[in-house]
Amino acid sequence: MTHVLEADGLTRTFGGRRAVQSVTLELDAGECLALFGPNGAGKTTLLRLLAGLLKPTAGVARINGQLLRGDAAARAQVGFISHQSMLYGPLTVRENVELAARLYGVRGAAAAATDVLGEMRVLDRAESPVRSLSRGLQQRVSIARAMVHRPRVLLLDEPYTGLDALGAATLTEMLARLRGDGATLVLVTHNIAEGLEVATQAAVMHRGRVVRRERREELDANRYADAYRELVGGAT
């Protein structure tokens, strides 16, 4: 059975250091995996592998059966949000999002940009240069940029960082809606409560490995935070 997002023995080393070791997971449409773990556990590396930004040392990542690495068509289905904005400071909000739209081959780039900026509630700042925006607003633009081509798979690396209450609520609402529409999400976050809110699966990474993975309905949200702390020892 072809899963929407699949990792099979995914491994990545840098020099001698094994950042991600033999990670295997599968996600189908409408699922959201919440990925927890201390700093340096390999969560960002795993996400970059799933986005096709890194070449695996071993193993494969697939989207709808297509190999991610080296296949442009597979990349077209992915949206990636990291805690770095990936925006060009001197360009305006609209220019940044339209650029992304054009690079993804979206027809009617200008209209698509307007739509997604409206959804993220930053349309009123569309003509401002990105560097004049606050961190929180930049994050919203960054999310809009990742969404403009309506990806079926969305990878989010600590997207709540820097968002104010309204921004966080907007994001959660959007993620839930996307899940409902059948998109597949992987959400890396430090905030266990926020993560479990939208998740259908939850996993913990420690030292490059996925040490625990289960479906949302199998776990007890109240106990999860304690279980997590136990799992990663004293590591933060």
């Binding site: 840098f14 020099g15 001698g16 250091r17 094994r18």
Partner: protein, 248 residues
């Protein structure tokens, strides 16, 4: 948690047991190469006639051109291994390229020092900005740049890739450099041996030169091989350190 660091007992057996390939005590290739160089020098100095126009200083030619050709040989290895690395992603190719690059720099330095030593008695000046000398100088900078680049990248795979790209581009540059010599009327003697038609030196000198070149090339290869073995041991130790650091 125990670390797998090597006991520092200075015992080679420990290294062998740990799987590190150690070098034999006597490097026979290197010995042969050195012997050949000595023989070539003796023949060049004592048993080859002195050239009429340039005098004894002409004999530097043997070292100068042999070193240049050996440097080109080493650079050829760099270029070839660069292509092999990008194609096969085998770290051995990268290690060989690194070794050849360092040896090439040594031989290029020899070319750039023997050149002026030859030039002063013949042309009356230590240095001239004629095309070939200038371009050998830039070749030196290119090789030095290659080695500086390697030093500036920490991640091994990235370092290998970047070096390979530079290696290939540098190889493509060399024909342009050589081409320029033919178009520029310079002080530099027109190529004597590498002309399209017959070499214009008497046979005795050609033989001496051939012998010198072979000895020089042997030395070049021996040095590359020795440097490669060092690189192999160094990388093995690094890998062990990284693995044991992770277990902590």
């Amino acid at each position: 948690m125990t670390t797998r660091a090597l006991p520092d007992d200075g015992d080679e057996a420990t290294l062998v047991n740990a799987g590190v390939e150690t070098r034999p005590l006597f490097d026979w290739l290197f010995g042969v190469a050195v012997a050949a160089m000595v023989a070539a020098y003796v023949r060049a100095v004592f048993f080859t006639p002195i050239e009429a126009l340039q005098g004894a200083a002409q004999k530097i030619y043997y070292v100068h051109v042999s070193a240049a050709l050996s440097a080109y040989l080493a650079l050829g290895v760099v270029a070839l291994m660069s292509i092999v690395y990008l194609w096969l992603r085998d770290e051995r190719a990268d290690r060989l390229a690194e070794s050849a690059g360092e040896v090439a720099l040594v031989f290029l330095t020899a070319v750039l020092t023997t050149g002026p030593l030859w030039g002063k008695p013949i042309w009356g000046t230590w240095w001239t900005w004629d095309a070939r000398l200038t371009l050998t100088l830039f070749l030196w900078f290119l090789t030095a740049g290659y080695l500086v680049l390697r030093g500036a990248v920490d991640e091994p795979a990235m370092r290998a890739r970047y070096s390979a790209v530079i290696g290939i581009l540098a190889a493509l540059l060399i024909p342009f450099i050589h081409l320029s010599v033919y178009l520029f009327n310079t002080l530099h003697p027109k190529p004597i041996l590498l002309k399209p038609d017959r070499p214009s030196m008497p046979n005795e000198m050609v033989v001496t030169f051939a012998g010198f070149f072979v000895a020089c090339a042997l030395l070049c290869i021996a040095l590359i091989r020795a440097r490669y073995r060092y690189g192999l041991a160094r990388d093995a130790v690094r890998a062990m350190d990284a693995a044991s650091a992770e277990d902590e």
